[in-house]
């Protein structure tokens, strides 16, 4: 319909043009007039359609509820949901109709009828609005009309909307984790969550069930996350930094053009592949080495996960540090060399101090990545929440718990499921703070030398 409107609008503007003697007497190009009519035709009806779709369910269920006889009228929210589900299934034919109370059967036919009507009503309304809007746009056209400006304004608003999607995403993330976390904190006090030393999210369904105490002290998780991140950083920071220094300061352009892409392959490998590598190759290797040296190593050790995570982060640190080192002005280097310092002394005493803020920012970003990394730890670290700093023991992390709590069935009224969102909130806040600081530092540093 919008296409049709475009054609009509364009034609009408050309008519105007003919009367006035040529296109140049119009305010805008004919295609803008066409587009304006098309927008008048399309936009309001699409908006209306969205509004209707959003409201449809509520209106229909309210009307249905009003029509339901008193004997099956629900008393609580849970009962209401049950009833609605039943009617829904009856209407879609998923439930057999035999042996159902006639009141329910009536309700299901009523639901089908309401759905049908609303569908027709919506289509009709949308068409009407589209037609009306199109006609309005067409009718109000004149040679002096600033069609281009109007069309461009609409376009610009669309662009702005797309750009502000980033805000909505952040907002969405915040809302989703904060709301569920608040519900969690109603059941479990914040202090217990933050400072409790025991984590076992299995809550008992029945009172006499064994092993279902349900304690939500997240300290073991935080400790496990920190331990694995620490191991990862001890691998990644020296290796990443040294390779960046070598590539930026020593390597010939040939070595550089070969080594840099090779390192960057590591950045492109999906995390699930690293997880598989850690679980099936590195972990058994570490276990066997440990056992041969007489150490008790679990098959899901923190060391394996941390090591592989470190390998994953190497290219991240090296490329960030590379950028930062390259941004140090050449004059600093020349000055130091001219004073008689060796190359390595120049690097250690001039370049690194000059690049330090940028390097620190990069390392912070890497830490935030290590904390948020999921697949490696899900596959290679364990599930047991132990309060230990022994890298050969099994530990669990925040992300592992989020995944295990949310994969499979979720009940959004139990503390078990909700605790995952509380953990998500912690994760989001910590990484957000790290990123914020890191980005600030890096930006400030860049400005310093520009």
């Amino acid at each position: 319909m919008s296409t049709l409107a475009y054609v009509f609008g364009r034609r009408r503007s050309q008519q105007f043009a003919r009367q006035l003697g040529g296109v140049r007497n119009l305010h805008s190009l004919p295609s803008y007039y066409g587009m304006r009519v098309a927008l008048w035709c399309g936009l309001p009806s699409v908006l209306l359609l969205f509004l209707c779709l959003a409201l449809e369910e509520t209106i229909i269920s309210n009307m249905l509820l009003a029509a339901i006889p008193d004997e099956i009228r629900p008393n609580s929210v849970a009962e209401y949901n049950l009833l609605m589900n039943k009617i829904e299934n009856l209407a879609s034919g998923a439930l057999p109709t035999e042996g159902v109370t006639p009141a329910l059967l009536d309700a299901s036919t009523a639901l089908m009828y309401l759905r049908d009507t609303s569908q027709r009503l919506m289509t009709g309304l949308a068409l009407l609005v589209a037609g009306g809007g199109g006609f309005w746009g067409w009718w109000r056209m004149s040679a002096q009309l600033r069609a281009r400006q109007q069309v461009e304004k609409v376009l610009k608003t669309c662009l702005l909307l797309c750009a502000s999607l980033a805000i909505f995403t952040t907002l969405g993330i915040l809302l989703s984790v904060v709301f569920e976390s608040l519900r969690f904190f109603q059941q479990v006090p914040v202090s217990e969550f933050l400072f409790g030393l025991e984590w076992s999210p299995q809550t008992a369904i029945r009172a006499d069930q064994a092993g279902g105490s349900g304690s939500f002290g997240a300290v073991p998780l935080f400790l496990g996350t920190l331990l694995i991140s620490l191991i990862a950083m001890t691998v990644a920071v020296p290796a990443g930094l040294m390779s960046a220094i070598y590539l930026a300061e020593y390597a010939s352009s040939k070595v550089r053009s070969l080594a840099k892409p090779t390192l960057e392959i590591l950045a492109g490998v999906p995390t699930v592949v690293y997880g598989y590598f850690a679980a099936l190759t590195v972990a058994p290797l570490i276990r066997d080495t440990g056992t041969s040296m007489g150490l008790a190593v679990t098959s899901e050790s923190a060391l394996a996960a941390g090591l592989v995570m470190g390998i994953m982060i190497i290219p991240f640190i090296s490329s960030l540090a590379d950028d930062v080192i390259n941004a140090v002005p050449q004059t600093l280097r020349d000055g130091s060399l001219a004073l008689g310092a060796t190359h390595s002394e120049t690097i250690k005493q001039v370049i690194i101090p000059a690049a330090l803020p940028g390097i620190v920012g990069g390392v912070l970003l890497a830490v935030s990545r290590a904390i948020g990394e999921t697949m490696i730890v899900v596959m290679a670290a364990g599930l047991a929440a132990k309060l230990t700093v022994n890298p050969l023991d099994t530990v669990t992390t925040v992300t592992v718990q989020i995944v295990t709590l949310l994969v499979g069935d979720q009940e959004f009224d139990s503390a078990k499921t909700l605790s995952a969102f509380a953990l998500g909130l912690m994760l989001f806040l910590v990484t957000l703070a790290l990123n914020f600081v890191a980005l600030r530092v890096v930006k400030k540093y860049r400005e310093q030398y520009e």
Binding site: M242, G268, V269, P270, T271, T431
Partner: protein, 428 residues
């Protein structure tokens, strides 16, 4: 030269050897760091290719099958009901029994039947369905071997000796006899690329996961490319310098560094619980991945737009075009290659992403190849995750092979991005 300077030269000379040594050491550290990284890449690839190359070939066993109408219970070949109910597993078993006539006893027989995969009967049923004339005839058919047989047969020639696993001594004897008769061989595993997941490793394939990944990526692309480009255009070309746009920028930069698992929580709480998008389907997966890749695309698109020289814009404005016209007619086409490169890299990221998809139910065990964006599906990385957890030894091989396919896709995409950049890059 006067004296004091001589003394300091002397002092410097004394420490010089030490300083040069330290210089050399420092350099060595750098080389070691690079070598460590390269070694990691090499180990990773060698390990995975070494484990996975076997999965592209699968063991088949030749059976001579007799399509006896009585044994099958088919009296009329055109009756589809009878065909569907026919006892094909019976004739498979019978053909095995005739091949190894000396087998007796229930447990031995059961071991014998386990030589071939239970997909053999479906294979025979399909053959009969497509060729009705086979009824009452007998023919030699290659059928899939069981996964334990497959693992054992493949490991026979390996250096570390055969991997026995769950195969019994009797079974190994039979396999030996099959080898001598040339009735067991490795063939290219078409099944691996076409079929969906299965509990039986020999029947499991990545076909379903690849199709699921494609649908998911399609949704991601359709959503994130236009929105990302639009956002980048606004921020680079039209945004006034004010609080709002500053806030948007901070948000985008932060979102690019938010852990991917958080996007899974977003998908679960907002898309599934609030908007009631069905779970486990490519639609929701694509939505979540689109939100996740959006910052990447916006950032690279902005860089591409920034690279277009201002002279182009000024020329456009100069001959009377409106800012919007300048952007749509000149800046966007010129920045497109850079935007496409960024988008391909973002898509590669989305293709390899697993964690957020676990939250939104894309870990379900799905046998069928999905047919649309609202069919339950899984994606390649998640399939790898699922298989990596499976206890059967044969799945190790399958997992590595699936990783090889995934890496092949990623390398192709990234190479395409690099080539595109090289090809279309323009220097002003």
């Amino acid at each position: 030269m006067n004296k004091p300077s001589n003394a300091s030269t002397e002092r410097i000379r004394k420490t010089l050897a030490k300083r040069y040594r330290s210089e050399k050491r420092f350099r060595l550290y750098g080389i070691m760091a690079i070598l460590f990284g390269v070694l990691c890449v090499a180990t990773l690839f060698v390990d995975i290719i070494g484990k996975g190359h076997g999965a592209f070939r699968q063991t088949y066993i030749q059976l001579s099958v007799d399509y006896e109408p009585d044994a099958l219970g088919i009296s009329d070949i055109n009756d589809t009901q009878q065909l569907a109910l026919a006892d094909f597993s019976g004739i498979v078993k019978k053909s095995l029994r005739t091949r190894f006539a000396d087998v007796s006893g229930r447990s031995e027989k059961r071991q014998l039947y386990r030589l071939v995969s239970n997909s053999a009967e479906y294979e025979l049923a399909n053959r009969l369905k497509t060729n009705n004339g086979l009824l009452g005839q007998s023919e030699k058919v290659w059928v899939l071997a069981d996964d334990d047989v497959d693992t054992y047969f493949k490991s026979l020639n390996s250096r570390d000796g055969a991997f026995v696993g769950r195969t019994s001594d009797k079974q190994q004897e039979w396999i030996q006899s099959l080898i001598e008769a040339g009735e067991i061989e490795l063939r290219f595993n078409v099944n691996f690329f076409t079929s969906g997941d299965s509990r039986e490793p020999e029947q499991a394939g990545i076909g379903g996961a690849i199709v699921g990944s494609l649908f998911t990526l399609f949704i991601t692309l359709v959503l994130s490319f236009p929105i990302g480009v639009a956002a980048a255009v606004y921020l680079e070309e039209f945004a006034p310098k004010n609080r709002l746009t500053d806030f948007i920028e901070v948000n985008i930069n932060n979102l690019a560094a938010v852990p991917s698992i958080i996007f899974g929580l977003l998908g679960l709480a907002i898309f599934i619980n609030f908007f009631h998008v069905p779970r486990s389907v490519p639609l929701i997966g694509g939505l979540v991945l689109a939100v996740m890749t959006l910052p990447t695309i916006i950032i690279s698109s902005r860089a591409a737009i920034k690279a277009v020289p201002p002279s182009i814009r000024e020329a456009g404005i100069g001959i009377g075009a409106s800012p919007m016209q300048v952007v749509l007619h000149h800046v966007l086409p010129l920045a497109l290659p850079g935007m496409l490169t960024g988008t391909i890299i973002g898509m590669a990221q989305a293709l390899g992403e697993t964690a957020p998809l676990l939250m939104i139910g894309m870990v379900a065990f799905i046998v069928d190849v999905p047919g649309g964006i609202t069919d339950p599906a899984t994606v390649l990385p998640v399939q790898i995750f699922l298989w990596a957890d499976s206890p059967e030894r044969a799945f190790v091989e399958k997992t590595s092979a699936a990783i090889m396919v995934l890496l092949a896709f990623l390398i192709t995409m990234n190479t395409a991005a690099v080539v595109l950049r090289k090809r279309l890059e323009r220097r002003w």
